[in-house]
Symmetry: D3
Subunit: 181 residues, 6 copies
């Protein structure tokens, strides 16, 4: 008890498709506000679609590599996969049941903010944007499909990992498909 | 048995996001055709999305308030939440299993009509439209996002209830979100 | 708002397989405590199993008939089907999203009490038992399988309805089956 | 149309865990009653449990081998996997949506018979038992766990196939497990 | 074992909404490459939507009729319904569990090819296109909605079957619907 | 790449209801075999049942506290929630998609061993038992229900945490319930 009273934990939810420098800056900033971050990798069951190309395990790996790259110690970040349930009315409770206790939510998205606001148990704080036009996962996936201009938007170790798992070709293949298997 | 033979029941299915004056006119007209209406609040598990902003319980409340407002007695309307199952081939049977026996279906939507037509057990009757261009839930949600011109399209008690539960701000927040949590 | 402040609503959750005199006594007692009861017919998607022989719509019908039989006016009882979700960690929130606002929960079951207790938003009150050994749905289904001694345990209109829908034979057939289709 | 009027099709549903000589006798008998059999391999999504050790594809393979072994021509038997949905109220409609039109249902199980009886669209006929005490999948799985006395209860090609896919060891492993992964 | 070594089986996955001459040519070509085809009718649980108008059983029937029309013997084609699971990360394993063993996958779609490529167990081969602009299910459904020019794109028996089950009117009704029940 | 070649990762799957000294000994032993352990908290969506009393987040917390108690550094253990899917045929692939790459599986349960054995991609190694009769979650939950003799079977910090979250009373309440909400 003692410890959780002194060490505040902040929740940060995203899909991280992929995890980019804007996400990394957000985590760094969150860690100036609280002692520990709980990073939820949402939509964990989905992968191999244009909007969700990477598996949860792959996204966890990207995040771990990026945190190591900038020297954030493991004990300050819990990174956890949580599947979507598609019923927003119970979404906050669903997240709460999958993660350790937290004290504050960090979010910019208006839906995430609204759901936590209606729940009423946790304060919700905005995250300063880090050049959102550029550091934006939708934009990054589009550039990967088009074949250029995305490498500088991701941490170097994440770029290496995406190349290692043949992620560029995967995203391009997904973009070409006109059917869902 | 005696009673169900003399008192006909009509089924009316909708999402009621939100319940507006067109819906209320439909219920009033249905009650000129049958003794009792079974109003199914469909997609009951969904809420907090642009197309389904309100929870099933909130929609039930809207309908109850609107029926009270115009003096329709409770014993003439059963209002029941039913979740979506997304497999249309069993949808009629799914609805049938959630509600009391009914004798006739009132519907204008071509999919609802087709599914009941293929099932073949119930007559399907159209509902006279009540200025459909205006009294249309999609249009009403759009106006709520834009901030005006919707109040006169809903029963007064439904407007009050939406304001009471902060529904305008919710719908505007949902419209601004670019992600699904 | 005014109205919900003066008219308290109580929640009562059950599977009602079938709705018996013990349930009816519980509803009558609840209506001495609050102005309105919200009766949730749980496990709404299940039917035709030994533990859940009746469909949600059939159970709603039983309850409506029993309430009419003893003269409880419709405006005092909302009877609503709610499906199971099997994830107890979000169960309270799931129920809340399906029903109108309520002020107090009436429950004897230790799991229901615990889930609402952990949620913390609603007071939970016990319901006086009405000869629980006899008025017990498991016992009643057993007697129906064995062929006797159950008629006096149910409201007369519920007995008539079960006979009308061939429910005795259904329960006996389900008991004989050694497979699940 | 002409053809379906003259060539009657019969539906036969089972889990076939595994497909034994009793099942094969049933198919042979059904083919004396109708021109074609539609054999539904139910619970298709389940495998690797004590009650459902074999995958749907493995069970389809067993059935095909057994039919070939006794010379039943392929055009007389459609063998189709269908997953469980666990909501018996829509089960008949679910089966109907997965298979070609059929004219009659062959079933001994009281639940299957009841569900089709309540649906009312198809005649349901019993299948003569073929020494049910012995030719019984539950008994056969028990004997496989215990290590003997099961070989003569299955068609020879099914025995060979189970040995080929290491099915004996699988069933024994499943029986030893005290957890579900 | 002997047999599966000499008789190669090829997998071919589609939704077949509806089964057209391009599909039929693909099956004929596949049967020049392998002894047997396993034709998976995907998205088996869906029907009565603009993209998935026909039930799995109806699509199985179309395929059987088309194969009979051109004289492909039943023992060379297994036609099997498989439902969607929407989690692509386990999709290959899901298909594998529903069908008999196969040796090679025939596919043109980039997603299907990618998923099997990442799995790594089966060679994936392209299918020569048969005038893809014309013989394309999306185009065919569009023409059915518009009311003409589709008959020559389907095998004659499939056209007859679609007319027999009132499929043209169904597709036109689905196109008119603005809601999902 | 370099790093994953030199630092081997081992997978360890359990429900950890609750995490006891036997589990902790297993983790300590695994870390003598590999550089890093990926601990999967299975059945993550379930809680508040007699077999699964604790939420995934609570179980993650127990494990973190126990690892800290014995001084296992965070960078050697990834602890991840993964929900059940109930289709064992795709279970290995499901796990693989949720977690970072691993090299070896540590398991004693015959089902887990069989599923990974049939998959064939990962070596599976047994874990030396640590007085299994005593250090057994089923036994521990039974003792908690009965009210004694369990404290010494869990790490001290886990005992404290269970008391802090009122876990003893929860387990006793769940044991008394005769219904599932």
């Amino acid at each position: 008890m003692q410890r959780s009273q002194v060490r505040k934990r902040g929740l940060y939810v995203g899909r991280f498709q992929p995890f980019h420098k804007g996400h990394l800056e957000a985590v760094k900033w969150i860690l100036t506000q609280v002692a520990e971050a709980v990073i939820v990798v949402g939509s964990a069951q989905y992968s191999h679609t244009p909007e969700n190309p990477f598996e949860a395990g792959e996204r966890l790996t990207m995040i771990r590599k990026a945190l190591d790259e900038v020297g954030i110690p493991r004990e300050r970040c819990e990174v956890l996969p949580v599947p979507d349930i598609h019923t927003h009315g119970v979404w906050v409770e669903h997240i709460v049941s999958y993660v350790p206790r937290f004290d504050v939510v960090f979010a910019n998205d208006s839906l995430t903010k609204r759901l936590f606001h209606e729940d009423g148990r946790f304060p919700v704080k905005p995250i300063p944007f880090y050049d959102r036009e550029k550091f934006n996962a939708t934009e990054i996936r589009k550039r990967i499909v088009q074949g250029g201009g995305w490498v500088e938007l991701l941490p170097r170790t994440v770029v290496d990992y995406i190349l290692e798992i043949d992620g560029v070709q995967r995203i391009q293949d997904l973009a070409k498909s006109d059917k869902v298997p």
